[in-house]
C-alpha cells in the first residue's frame, strides 16, 4: 500500500471519527426542542455533550488539515467547488459553537431560547450539508482538465445527494437519541428512548436506501467492483436495523454501539466507493481526481505519517479517557 493510499484511508478514518463522535452531539442538538420539555431537561441534554463536543469537532478540522497536507489538489478543488455549501456549513457550525457557551452565560430566558434554537438549527443544517457535500465527491461534479469546478451551486443537489443529506440527519438524530438514552435517566431518559424508537423506522428506510444507492453509484459512475462498497453498506444497513430492534428491547448500550457502527459504515461505504479516486468528475470522468494524482510528494507524506503515527494513538487514549471520566448519567427536570 502506498503512503497516498494510507492517507486516503486515514482521512476516511478521520471522517468516520467525526461521524461517530460529532454525530451524536449533532443528534442531541437536533432533539433539544423535542426531547427536552423544560430548561432543566435541556441543561441536562447539553450537559451530556458539553464537555466533549469541541473535541469531537476537531476530528473535522484534522480531516480538513490532513486533506490539505496529503492531497492539496483534492482540498483545493473540493473546497472551492463546494463553496456556498461550505459557507452555509460554516454558518451552522459557528452559531452552534458559540451557542453552547453563550446560552449558559445568557441571563434572559429569551436569549437562552434563541441560543438553543441556534444550536438546533446548526445541528440539523451542518450534517445535512455534509451529507450532500461528501455524496457529491462520489456522485461527481463537473471539472475541467485542470481540476477546476465548472458547475454552479445547484449542481450540488440531485436526488442522490439530497438523500445523502437526509440519511445523515436521520442517522445522527437516531445516534443522538441512543446516546441520550444511555447518558440520561428518569423521565428525560425515557423520552430519549421513545424518540429513538420513533426515529429508528424512518432511519432504517432512508439510511438503507442511501447505502444501496451509494453502491450503485460507485459501480455505475466510478467503475468500482461491487464487493468493496457492498461490505460496509450491508454492515451499515444491518446496524440500523439492529438498532431498531435493540431500542425496543431496552438494550440501550448496544443500540448506541449499533448507531455508531452505522455512522462509521456510512463513511466507509462512501470512501470505498470513491477509491481509487478522491473526487469524481461528471461529466468528463477522465478529469476525476485520483488518490495518486492528487497526493503530495513522498517526503511530505512521510513526515506527516510519522507525526500521525506518534500522535493519533495518544489522542485516542486521552479522548477515550475523557469519555470514561464523564461517564455518569445526568437527569433532567421534573
Amino acid at each position: 500500500m502506498t503512503l497516498a493510499t494510507v492517507w486516503f484511508c486515514l482521512i476516511g478514518f478521520l471522517w468516520a471519527g467525526y461521524f461517530l463522535l460529532e454525530g451524536f452531539d449533532f443528534g442531541v442538538g437536533m432533539l433539544l426542542p423535542w426531547v427536552g420539555r423544560d430548561e432543566e431537561d435541556r441543561n441536562a441534554m447539553l450537559g451530556t455533550i458539553g464537555p466533549v463536543w469541541d473535541g469531537n469537532e476537531v476530528w473535522l478540522v484534522v480531516a480538513t488539515g490532513a486533506t490539505f497536507a496529503a492531497f492539496p489538489a483534492w482540498y483545493a478543488t473540493m473546497f472551492s467547488a463546494l463553496y456556498l455549501a461550505l459557507l452555509l456549513i460554516l454558518v451552522c457550525l459557528i452559531v452552534r459553537v458559540v451557542s453552547f457557551e453563550w446560552r449558559e452565560r445568557s441571563a434572559s430566558p429569551r436569549a437562552r431560547t434563541a441560543w438553543q434554537w441556534a444550536n438546533t438549527v446548526g445541528s440539523v443544517g451542518a450534517p445535512f450539508l455534509w451529507g450532500v457535500a461528501l455524496a457529491n465527491l462520489l456522485h461527481g461534479l463537473p471539472l475541467d482538465d485542470k481540476g477546476v469546478f465548472t458547475g454552479t451551486f445547484l449542481d450540488l443537489f440531485s436526488g442522490y445527494t439530497v438523500l445523502a443529506g437526509l440519511a445523515t440527519v436521520l442517522l445522527f438524530a437516531l445516534h443522538g437519541a441512543t446516546f441520550l438514552t444511555l447518558r440520561t435517566h428518569g423521565e428525560l431518559g425515557a423520552r430519549a428512548g421513545a424518540a429513538a424508537r420513533r426515529l429508528s423506522v424512518p432511519a432504517v428506510v432512508v439510511v438503507a436506501a442511501f447505502l444501496a444507492w451509494t453502491v450503485a453509484v460507485a459501480v455505475d459512475g466510478n467503475e468500482r467492483g461491487v464487493a468493496g462498497p457492498l461490505v460496509p453498506a450491508v454492515l451499515g444497513a444491518v446496524a440500523v436495523v439492529a438498532c431498531a430492534v435493540l431500542v425496543r428491547s431496552g438494550r440501550v448500550g448496544w443500540a448506541f454501539v449499533a448507531t455508531g457502527v452505522a455512522a462509521v459504515a456510512t463513511v466507509a461505504t462512501l470512501f470505498t466507493g470513491l477509491y481509487p479516486r478522491v473526487l469524481v468528475s461528471d461529466p468528463g470522468f477522465a478529469n476525476s481526481l485520483t488518490v495518486t494524482g492528487a497526493a503530495t510528494e513522498h517526503y511530505a507524506l512521510t513526515v506527516i505519517t510519522v507525526v500521525g503515527a506518534v500522535l493519533l494513538p495518544v489522542v485516542l487514549l486521552y479522548q477515550g479517557w475523557t469519555y470514561h471520566v464523564l461517564r455518569a448519567r445526568l437527569a433532567g427536570g421534573g
Partner: protein, 465 residues
C-alpha cells in the same frame, strides 16, 4: 476581463483580511489568559487561598466566552484557503499543509479535549489532575500558535522547500520548523499573547478596584498581572525590534514600505510621523518629523547601516522576477508599524507605572491609573491588528514571497457574486457575534467573582447517579 479578475482577487483578499483579523482579536487573549488562569489555579492549589480559586473561576468565565468565538472563527480559517485560494492551496499544500495538519493533531485535540474536562471536571477529577487539564489547554494553545506561525512564516520566507512540477514541495521539515523567521514570529506572538492576557486581567481588576469592589481579591489579580506585564511588554518591544531587523534580511521591501523609505539611505533616519510621501507619484512628505540614525539602528543594528529604499528594490526585483510592481501598499505598512510600535511603548509605560504604584502601595488610590489601565485593555488588540496589517500587506504582491503572486492564487471558479454573498454573510454573522461577545464579556467582567464553594459553580449541570 482583466478588471473582473482584479475584483475577485480583491474580494477574496478583503474576506481573508477581515476574517483573519477578526479571528486574531480572540487569539492573543486566549494565548495569554489561559496560562494566567492556570497560574491562578496553581496558586490556589499551592496555597489554598480562596481568593485564587475565585479569580480562577472569574477569569475562567471570560476565557470561555472568548475561547468559543476563537474556535468558531478558526473553522473559517481552516476552510477558506481551499474555498477562496484554490490555486494557492494546490500550489503550497505539500509544504503549508503539513504544519496545519500537525497543528490539528498536536494542538487542537489537546486544547479542545482538556478544556472540556477543565470546565466539567471540577468535582470529577482530583485537584491535581484538574489543575493539569488547564495547563494542557495552555500548552495546546501555544502549540497551535507555533504551528500556524510556522505555516505563515513560510509564506513570508519560504525555507525547507523547492518548486517541482509547478508546485512547492517540502524538502526539509527541520528547516521549516526552525526557520529563523518562524522562531521570531512565534516568540513575538507569544509575548503579544501574554501582554494581552496581562493587560486584560489588569484592566478588569483595576475597574473593580476603582469601584472599591472585591478589593482583596482583585488586588492579587492586579499584582499577578503587573508581575507578568512588566517583562512581557518590555520583552515584546525587544523581540519586535529584532524581528524587524531580521525581516530586513528576508523582506527588505516590507521594511522599506513600513518606513516609507523611497531611496536608499546611509545612515537612515526614522520617520516618527509624516503627512504625504506614501505613493510613487508623491515620494516626498509635505511634513515629517525624523530621528537621525534611528532607522539604521532598528533595521540593521548598527549606527550608520545602509537601509535600502523602495525605488532601488523595485528595480532589483524587476531584474529578478520580471516586469511588474513589487512594492507593497506603503501607507498601511507605514501606519501599521507606527500604531504597533507606539502602542507597544505605551503598554510598557502602563506596566511600569502600575508596578511602581503597586510597590509603593498606592495602586488602589491612584484613580488616574486605574482608569488608564481600563482603557489600556484595548491597546494590545489594536497593536496586534496593526502588526498583522504590516505583516500581511507588507508581503504583497506576493502570497508566498518570491514564488507565487496573490493575484494568481485565488479560486478561478469562484465568481465575484459568490464572493460578495460570502463577504456579506461574514459581515453580518461576525458583526452579530462581536456585539454579543462584547455584551457578555462586559457583563461577566463586572460581576463579583464567584464564591469559592463548589455548589455555586455555574457550568456543572445537576448530577445524579
Amino acid at each position: 476581463m482583466t478588471t473582473l479578475a482584479v475584483t475577485t482577487v480583491d474580494l477574496a483578499r478583503a474576506q481573508f483580511a477581515t476574517t483573519s483579523l477578526y479571528h486574531f482579536l480572540f487569539v492573543p487573549l486566549t494565548l495569554g489568559l489561559t496560562p494566567l488562569v492556570a497560574i491562578m489555579q496553581t496558586a490556589w492549589y499551592r496555597t489554598g487561598v480562596d481568593a485564587w480559586l475565585r479569580l480562577t473561576k472569574f477569569f475562567g468565565a471570560l476565557l470561555l466566552i472568548n475561547f468559543a468565538i476563537g474556535v468558531a472563527t478558526g473553522l473559517v480559517q481552516e476552510f477558506q484557503f481551499g474555498m477562496n485560494w484554490s490555486v494557492y492551496s494546490a500550489y503550497v499544500g505539500g509544504v503549508f499543509g503539513a504544519p496545519l495538519a500537525i497543528e490539528g493533531l498536536a494542538a487542537f485535540f489537546l486544547e479542545a479535549t482538556f478544556l472540556g474536562l477543565w470546565i466539567f471536571g471540577w468535582d470529577r477529577l482530583s485537584a491535581r489532575v484538574h489543575l493539569a487539564t488547564i495547563w494542557l489547554v495552555a500548552a495546546g494553545t501555544w502549540m497551535s500558535g507555533y504551528f500556524i506561525l510556522v505555516a505563515n512564516s513560510w509564506m513570508q520566507h519560504p525555507v525547507g522547500s523547492t518548486v517541482r512540477n509547478g508546485e512547492a514541495q517540502l524538502t526539509n521539515v527541520w528547516d521549516l520548523l526552525t526557520s529563523r523567521f518562524a522562531i521570531y514570529a512565534f516568540t513575538h506572538t507569544m509575548f503579544v499573547g501574554v501582554t494581552t492576557g496581562a493587560l486584560v486581567v489588569l484592566g478588569v481588576s483595576c475597574w473593580h478596584l476603582a469601584r472599591g469592589r472585591n478589593v482583596d481579591v482583585f488586588r492579587r489579580a492586579a499584582a499577578l498581572a503587573l508581575i507578568v506585564a512588566v517583562p512581557a511588554t518590555i520583552g515584546n518591544m525587544i523581540v519586535g525590534s529584532s524581528f524587524a531587523t531580521a525581516s530586513t534580511d528576508y523582506q527588505p521591501m516590507k521594511i522599506a514600505a513600513a518606513e516609507a523609505l523611497w531611496n536608499t539611505e546611509q545612515p537612515a533616519s526614522f520617520s516618527l510621523f509624516q503627512i504625504g510621501g506614501f505613493s510613487v507619484d508623491d515620494q516626498k512628505p509635505s511634513f515629517d518629523i525624523e530621528v537621525p540614525h534611528l532607522l539604521s539602528i532598528l533595521a540593521t543594528g548598527t549606527w550608520s547601516g545602509k537601509v535600502e529604499g523602495l525605488n532601488p528594490l523595485q528595480q532589483q526585483e524587476q531584474g529578478q522576477f520580471g516586469p511588474g510592481n513589487y512594492m507593497p501598499p506603503v501607507e498601511p505598512a507605514y501606519w501599521g508599524m507606527r500604531v504597533m510600535a507606539y502602542l507597544g511603548a505605551l503598554m510598557v509605560l502602563v506596566a511600569l507605572a502600575g508596578a511602581w504604584l503597586y510597590r509603593t502601595k498606592r495602586l488602589e488610590r491612584a484613580r488616574w491609573f486605574l482608569w488608564t489601565a481600563v482603557v489600556a485593555t484595548a491597546f494590545p488588540f489594536v497593536a496586534a491588528m496593526a502588526g498583522w496589517v504590516l505583516t500581511e500587506m507588507g508581503r504583497q504582491p506576493w502570497i508566498v514571497w518570491g514564488l507565487l503572486k496573490t493575484s494568481e492564487a485565488n479560486s478561478p471558479n469562484v465568481s465575484s457574486t459568490t464572493l460578495g454573498i460570502s463577504l456579506g454573510v461574514f459581515f453580518l454573522l461576525y458583526g452579530t457575534l462581536a456585539v454579543v461577545d462584547v455584551v457578555l464579556m462586559r457583563r461577566f467582567a463586572r460581576l463579583d467573582p464567584p464564591s469559592a464553594l463548589p455548589s455555586e459553580d455555574p457550568p456543572v449541570p445537576a448530577m445524579s447517579f
